[in-house]
């Protein structure tokens, strides 16, 4: 409830949690030192890029509450813009990635306008239509800029001069750094004025209007920021894979990304991390059974949504709350022998 006093600060975390996060980042960062298997690193880098995308999508979908299903188009716009900049101006890759992010952010802002007058499901259909149009333009590009359905012409990556393993490691750490920055940025924004305004617009539009919270301004900001992050994710994808095809924004990738977000917990800070991680693991575990992969993912999605509505993060925090209630019950209770006996029983 004391949101106002914490505006602009990162969510308050206990020392233990902070230590945990630092330890987690350290452990994840150490992975390519310990494991040098190229296959594992290849899919981990892809997973981290997806995580960047999912972080930005979660921001729009979960925190701002705007049903933007055009995110993969924004992601693709980031990638293609980066590629065009590199091919036609010879701009160095890192700058091009940022420019791709800016272009994606700009398109995202354009997309924000028509969504203002829409609610719920209509927003998702509008943004989805936008994505379809972008995909058609890329595939049927009459000028041949995008490479059409053949995929974008090969570009130099971020680290063209490194050997295979060094390259994988370099990408791994680069993308991991982007993940950390993006996640903290989203965490910070969430508790900033912007985040509070967005959540007010989401949960109590009438109240927001009464308080003069301008949906136009805040939604455009939200779209700009998420668009930028998604565009950077797209740029990283292009740099890492040296090419991109418009099928990365197809229905199947979209359903997988949505599954990741929902399983992790929409609108939570660590939902994208958990969802992306878990689903990547499941996908790779099922890689030998290509036929059933999507059926199983669909089933998991269904089960999670129906039985664990807040996603895994919701489940974890609920479990934690229950456990802490259980502990509190124990500690506040009068230490009668009976109760002591019961708690010991429960403990063993």
């Amino acid at each position: 409830m004391n949101d106002a006093s914490r505006v602009g600060k990162l969510p308050k975390l206990s020392a233990g949690s902070r230590l945990g996060i630092v330890a987690l980042i350290a452990i994840v960062a150490a992975v390519p030192v310990v494991y040098t298997n190229h296959y594992v690193l290849t899919f981990l880098v892809t997973a981290l890029i997806t995580l960047v995308l999912n972080t930005s999508w979660n921001f729009v979908l979960g925190i701002a509450g705007v049903w933007n299903f055009g995110m993969l188009a924004i992601y693709a716009i980031g990638a293609y813009s980066e590629g065009l900049v590199m091919l036609h101006t010879g701009m160095p890759a890192p700058i091009a990635v940022l420019l791709g992010g800016v272009a994606a952010g700009a398109f995202s802002v354009l997309l924000a306008f028509p969504t203002l007058r829409l609610f719920g499901i209509y927003t998702s259909l509008l943004t989805f239509s936008f994505a379809q149009v972008v995909q058609f333009v890329i595939v049927n590009d009459p000028k041949g800029l995008t490479g059409g359905s053949f995929g974008f012409p090969t570009v130099k990556g971020l680290y063209p001069n490194l050997g295979p393993l060094a390259q994988l490691r370099a990408y791994y750490w680069t993308v991991l750094a982007v993940v950390v920055v993006a996640t903290f940025a989203v965490a910070w924004i969430r508790s900033s004025r912007l985040g509070i305004a967005l959540r007010t617009i989401r949960d109590a539009p009438a109240y927001a209007a009464a308080r003069g919270v301008s949906p136009l301004k805040y939604r455009m900001l939200a779209f700009a920021i998420s668009g930028f992050i998604a565009g950077v994710a797209g740029g990283l994808y292009l740099s890492y894979n040296q090419s991109i095809t418009s099928s990365v924004m197809g229905l199947t990738p979209m359903s997988i990304d949505v599954t990741m977000l929902v399983i992790g917990g929409l609108g939570t800070l660590f939902g994208p991390v958990i969802g992306t991680g878990l689903l990547t693991f499941i996908q790779q575990a099922l890689i030998d059974y290509p036929g059933v992969q999507l059926s199983i993912l669909g089933t998991i999605l269904l089960i999670i949504v129906v039985f664990v509505p807040g996603g895994l993060v919701g489940l974890i925090s609920r479990t934690r709350r229950r456990l802490s209630n259980w502990v509190e019950e124990d500690e506040t209770a009068l230490p009668t022998t009976e109760e002591a006996a019961r708690s010991t029983e429960a403990g063993t």
Binding site: F150, S243, S324
Partner: protein
């Protein structure tokens, strides 16, 4: 939120408090998970790679793992299924005959979906990490971004992407282990035009006008072929009345047909990988045909095309740079075995091609003496001339792609036949090139 003040103070004489219990359990759990998970993962990787390394030394009785990167789901699933069946049939045959150098083969199929760059990289890295003896990829990316992975690992990879960009990449980077098991798509332009000129010269067909109308789905394969055809025909001074791209699937061709019927072209050229789309088109065309030769690209090679189009397809021409030689004994034997195993006949391209490529590789590996001596195997493949169900395979030096016959070599024992079929009375009749033909071109009923 759980408060973090130090707990357990009230524990005293009550034994274990809930807080302590929880702390203990959490520590144990997380620790166990990390250690167990990591250990399990390493052990899993380790044991897998160790089996394969021992496999690699050649003295083992373990089966030899063969990788397949085929599009078993997604838009190209019907091709993917043909590919995997072709590969599996060849492997079963080799295994039934005692295996390769005494060892059984085992096929590991991974899904290359729509050949997105990240998917291809992931799939190939996985196969490479399992140290497979060879990789049979159906389609690849058109930008070759995944090729370095295989180039580095060294094992032979065969694909049928039919794209000059891929083979140019191989040539430019001096890659020695990535083979394209068919000629590139550029042959489509020249091949059919040569044939059209033959028809005209021999008087078998007189065009109503020197013009074409091209409809193509916007996937690379169909589009590349349509473009090659258009460019080739324009070079011969044929007019292009329309060049339409569409997105699969499409079932209603009313709009296209209005244009075709208002200004009938000499040739209607339809290029798509989706048999349903082409079948729909020809059915709707046949309702009121124009005096045009109809050429449908690729999809008629899939057996379902005929099931779907039925009589409407009679008279349709189509060609493929890689196809099972319908009248050939070797091909017939393959078709029989395939039909017996899968209770459906194979398609004309991908099943036979993959079947051939597996056999080709197995022979080369046998010549090399060790399937894991990649340099030797690759050299053997490069020098092979193999006669399979799709004709002769021999790889051009540098690009490591098959010669098209008769487009680039006039020697049918070296070149892979660029086949043209006409559907007559519900049968696929191979009308070009000799010596493989099983029949002659006939004017379609609507032109007689």
């Amino acid at each position: 939120m759980a408060d973090q003040q130090s707990g357990g103070g009230s524990g005293g004489g009550r034994g274990l408090s809930r807080r302590k219990f929880l702390q203990g359990a959490t520590t144990a759990g997380v620790g166990g998970l990390v250690v167990g998970g990591a250990g399990g993962f390493v052990a899993g990787r380790g044991s897998k790679s160790s089996t394969n390394t021992t496999g690699g030394t050649g003295a083992s009785t373990e089966p030899i793992l063969i990788g397949s990167a085929s599009p078993v789901t997604g838009p190209f699933a019907s091709d993917g299924q043909q590919m995997v069946r072709g590969q599996q049939l060849a492997i079963d045959e080799i295994n039934a005959n005692g295996g390769l150098l005494g060892r059984q083969l085992k096929l590991q199929v991974l899904d290359s979906k729509a050949q997105e760059p990240d998917v291809m990289k992931n799939v190939l890295q996985k196969l490479v990490s399992q140290n497979v003896a060879a990789i049979f990829a159906g389609f690849t990316t058109y930008t070759s971004v995944e090729f370095p992975i295989v180039a580095q690992a060294g094992m032979p990879m065969f694909h049928v992407n039919t794209w000059h960009g891929n083979v140019e990449y191989v040539q430019q980077n001096n890659i020695t282990n990535i083979f394209q098991g068919d000629p590139s798509e550029t042959s489509y332009g020249s091949g059919f035009i040569t044939l059209v000129n033959q028809f005209i010269d021999s008087g078998a067909w007189t065009p109503s006008s020197k013009s074409t109308y091209v409809v193509t789905s916007n996937d690379p394969y169909s589009l590349a072929i349509a473009k090659a055809f258009k460019a080739g025909m324009e070079k011969q001074c044929w007019k292009t009345l329309g060049f339409e791209q569409y997105t699969v699937p499409q079932a209603d061709y009313g709009g296209q047909l209005v244009k075709i019927r208002n200004n009938p072209p000499g040739i209607v050229f339809f290029s798509s990988y989706a048999p349903g789309d082409e079948a729909s088109f020809i059915k709707q065309f046949a309702e009121s045909p124009t005096p045009s030769l109809v050429y449908e690209q690729y999809a008629p090679s899939i057996p379902e095309y005929l099931d779907l189009a039925k009589d409407a397809a009679n008279g349709v021409l189509w060609s493929t740079v890689v196809g099972v030689l319908a009248g050939d004994d070797r091909a017939k034997a393959f078709i029989d075995k395939f039909t017996q195993k899968f209770s459906r006949p194979p398609g004309f391209s991908n099943a036979g091609d993959q079947y051939d490529l597996v056999h080709l590789w197995a022979e080369a590996a046998a010549v090399a003496g060790d399937p894991f001596d990649f340099a030797k195997v690759n050299a053997a493949v490069a020098n092979t001339v193999y006669r399979g169900t799709c004709g002769a395979y021999s790889f051009l030096p540098g690009t490591l792609t098959c010669y098209p016959y008769p487009d680039e070599t006039l020697d049918p024992s070296l070149g892979m036949a660029h086949l043209t079929f006409q559907i007559q009375n519900g049968e696929q009749v191979l009308i070009s090139p000799d010596p493989y033909t099983t029949g002659k071109f006939e004017l379609p009923s609507w032109l007689r």
